[in-house]
């Protein structure tokens, strides 16, 4: 057992062996999910609450499906619509939740660090489904699994992460995970979308796709949020697509067998050309969705094991 944590709040605290353990188990769940009977009961009797303070369809559905396939009782709470509008604080929400005795809490929140804060205040296991611009650990794990299955390994690869790095929690978690697994990471994007001091993390930073994509094994595209498109961070959508959108012309600078990834949902014709996204020889975007369910099953399975192994939790501090 390498992954012994109570929560999965980010990739940062994980050791490489723990990452490998999660991915190994996820491989088994991929097999289960592809079989005729997609059900296990490792989470039977446990209650999983998905608490999304920010809109999400795909991640929430993925967590819901993962929980249900493992036999948990799953409940979805759309928080942006309810109590925060009434002025309830995150801590009040945590105390309310404690009273419902959930075992696993899946949380997405628009503010960095909010999931950490919640984890300090609740009794149960907490999974970070994305907090602000901080981390999105299960996305990085599913990306890692996708790469490992496509490339046969998750080390010593040249991996380019392209686009809006500054506002992306997906990029942060991936930079940390891929770094821990000893890959060479290149970040490509306009300087307005590059976070300050990021080169100090051991990444190579490029402003030009043609240079940055040279001989990479993996091209990871990021979603450009609509609100960043008009004048503030980039001059226009079409200029962005011209300089940073992934099309076949730019992709030819990468290795011939390079794979193309995207965390979704995609803006076709903004950060990625539709044809590339649909090219079954290059794009692994559909696999990423499939791996998402398996990785979340593995993470919840391991966390539930840790929950059972842990001594009874003590007092809650408010």
């Amino acid at each position: 057992m390498s992954f012994t944590d109570k929560h999965l709040l980010g990739i940062e605290p994980l050791r490489p062996e723990a990452i490998t353990e999660i991915l190994d188990l996820a491989d088994k769940y991929v097999a289960l999910n592809r079989g005729p009977l997609k059900h296990s009961d490792v989470l039977a009797g446990l209650t999983q609450i998905n608490m999304f303070f920010e809109n999400s369809t795909r991640t929430q559905a993925s967590f819901e499906l993962a929980g249900k396939r493992l036999g948990a009782d799953v409940m979805n709470m759309a928080m942006q619509a309810s109590s925060i509008k009434k002025g309830e604080t995150l801590i009040d929400t945590a105390l309310t939740l404690n009273a419902m005795h959930p075992d696993i809490l899946v949380v997405r929140h628009p503010h960095s660090g909010a999931v950490d804060l919640l984890a300090q205040k609740v009794n149960c296991t907490v999974l970070n489904a994305g907090d602000g611009q901080h981390e999105h650990p299960t996305q990085a794990l599913l990306d890692g699994l996708t790469i490992r299955r496509a490339k046969g390994r998750l080390h010593r690869l040249n991996i380019a992460i392209c686009g809006d790095i500054a506002h992306s929690r997906v990029a942060r978690s991936n930079i940390i995970l891929l770094g821990k697994m000893e890959n060479r990471i290149r970040l490509i994007g306009p300087p307005t979308l590059m976070p300050a001091g990021i080169a100090e993390l051991g990444c190579e930073v490029y402003q030009d796709m043609h240079v940055g994509l040279q001989d990479v094994d993996v091209v990871m595209m990021l979603r450009l949020q609509k609100e960043r498109m008009d004048g503030g961070f980039i001059p226009s959508e079409r200029e962005y697509y011209h300089r940073y959108g992934l099309d076949s012309e730019k992709l030819q600078y990468a290795k011939d067998d390079a794979i193309v990834m995207h965390p979704g949902p995609m803006n076709r014709g903004v950060e990625i050309d539709g044809e590339i996204a649909d090219d079954i020889n290059r794009s692994v975007i559909q696999e990423q969705v499939e791996m998402g369910v398996a990785v979340r099953m593995a993470a919840m399975d391991l966390l539930a094991r840790n929950l059972r192994d842990a001594p009874a939790s003590g007092e809650v501090t408010a």
């Binding site: 604080t89 801590i91 503010h111 960095s112 660090g113 602000g132 901080h134 990021i198």
Partner: protein
């Protein structure tokens, strides 16, 4: 008033830059004699043995937020006064960023009255430079001065319109009023919760470049040059702002600068996993910046160290980092935190008290801050070495938001005297 003889003290004289064993005689609230040869107590004179501990001019703290009027549950004059006395602060220069802002002579008179009834230490109020701290119309600077305002500041609100600020500066200049500003380019720092760099990027926090401080300071210096005003920058916290400050001083402008104890003793990494007690304004800086600011205090380029005491209740801090309120209480931790710089070998005690007592008094035109016959007997007796572990729930401030909770610190106030009378004595 009691006549007092404090004998056997290690007297810190920030003006002369010395520490000498001396006896101090106090009459009618004033120091009347400082003698290196032992004095013998006269009849009717109360004699106090200082046991060879340090005796310094009491701290004059510019920029204390007392939350009256508006938020008395966070800090009242009574609680702030007790905390200040326990922290060796003999004069609190209070901020006008209350609710409502202190921008009229009526409000100022009200709080001055409240303050003097409720606190054992001196309280001198500052007033808002513009009405409602909105940066649009200047407040009644003349009336406010008559009512006792010692300086004018909109606190952390930057008067972003240069025309408004220039006019307020020249009006204040004509009256000889001191203007205290927060050097910051407000459009750059809007919404920021951290200083941009690797740490903020990893934590995914909205961040401001350290350059925003230099831009704000550069603009203010230009306007001071234009108007000839008396100007004090409340907090200089970054290395890049220092050369501009140095040039302005060398050019003979009437400029001084302060910094906060938190920026001198903490850096951005202390925020760690989103600890909101470390959220201050401006945000904590890099270690390089911290070191540069310490060196600037050492050289005298930065004149004044303040607590920037800002009480916040538990509710406003128990939020995600971005949403949490800024500020930290510091009246009681100012001295032990400042002594970290002494124990680290960065500053000698006379240098420290130059920045804590002598310079603030001089800048505000107060008679205190000196260890000489004729100066008010506002004094602080302390043990610089006594170790303790900070427990925030022992603070006398109503709010307990200190970043030094559970920190190992050294330095204990043994007694605080205001006008020769003890306002705090440590229980031994």
């Amino acid at each position: 008033m009691t006549k007092r003889l404090l004998h056997n003290a290690q007297v810190i004289d920030p003006e002369a830059g010395t520490i000498t064993r001396a006896d101090i005689r106090i009459e009618n609230g004033l120091i009347t004699q400082v003698s290196q040869s032992p004095l013998s107590a006269n009849p009717h004179e109360h004699s106090v043995d200082c046991h060879n501990k340090y005796l310094a001019p009491g701290i004059i703290d510019i920029g204390v937020k007392v939350c009256e009027p508006g938020e008395r549950h966070k800090e009242s004059f009574k609680s702030a006064g007790l905390a200040a006395a326990a922290g060796g602060i003999t004069t609190m220069v209070t901020r006008p960023d209350t609710t409502p802002a202190i921008d009229s002579p009526e409000t100022l008179e009200f709080i001055a009255r409240r303050a003097n009834q409720a606190t054992p230490v001196n309280v001198i109020p500052m007033a808002a430079l513009t009405k409602g701290r909105n940066g649009r119309e200047m407040s009644e600077i003349g009336f406010l001065m008559d009512a006792g305002a010692i300086a004018f500041t909109d606190c952390d609100h930057v008067v972003s319109n240069p025309k408004v600020f220039a006019r307020a500066l020249s009006y204040a200049c004509a009256l000889g009023a001191l203007v205290i500003a927060h050097p910051q380019e407000p459009t750059l720092s809007k919404g920021a919760a951290a200083t941009s760099g690797k740490f903020a990027s990893l934590r995914g926090l909205p961040a401001v470049s350290a350059m925003a401080e230099r831009m704000g300071l550069d603009r203010d210096i230009a306007l001071v040059e234009m108007t000839g005003a008396r100007y004090h920058a409340d907090q200089i916290t970054t290395a890049r702002a220092l050369p501009a400050l140095e040039r302005a001083k060398a050019n003979g402008l009437d400029i001084t600068a302060g910094t906060s104890i938190h920026h001198l003793t903490l850096n951005e990494l202390d925020v760690a996993d989103y600890r909101t007690f470390f959220k201050v304004k401006p945000p904590l800086r890099s270690e390089e910046d911290r070191k540069a600011v310490v060196a600037a205090v050492q050289s005298g380029l930065i004149d004044i160290i303040s607590s920037m005491h800002t009480p916040q209740d538990e509710e406003s801090k128990r939020l995600p980092f971005e949403e949490a309120a800024s500020g930290a209480v510091a009246l009681e931790t100012l001295l032990p935190a400042a002594l970290r710089l002494f124990h680290a070998g960065d500053l000698e005690l006379p240098q420290l008290f130059r920045a804590l007592s002598y310079n603030p008094a001089k800048r505000l035109g107060l008679a205190a801050g000196r260890m000489a016959a004729g100066a008010p007997a506002d004094l602080l007796l302390f043990d610089a070495h006594a170790p303790f572990v900070m427990n925030r729930f022992t603070l006398l401030s109503k709010s307990k938001n200190t970043p030094f909770d559970e920190a190992k610190m050294q330095g204990r106030v043994l007694a605080t005297y205001v006008a020769g009378e003890p306002v705090y004595e440590a229980s031994v």
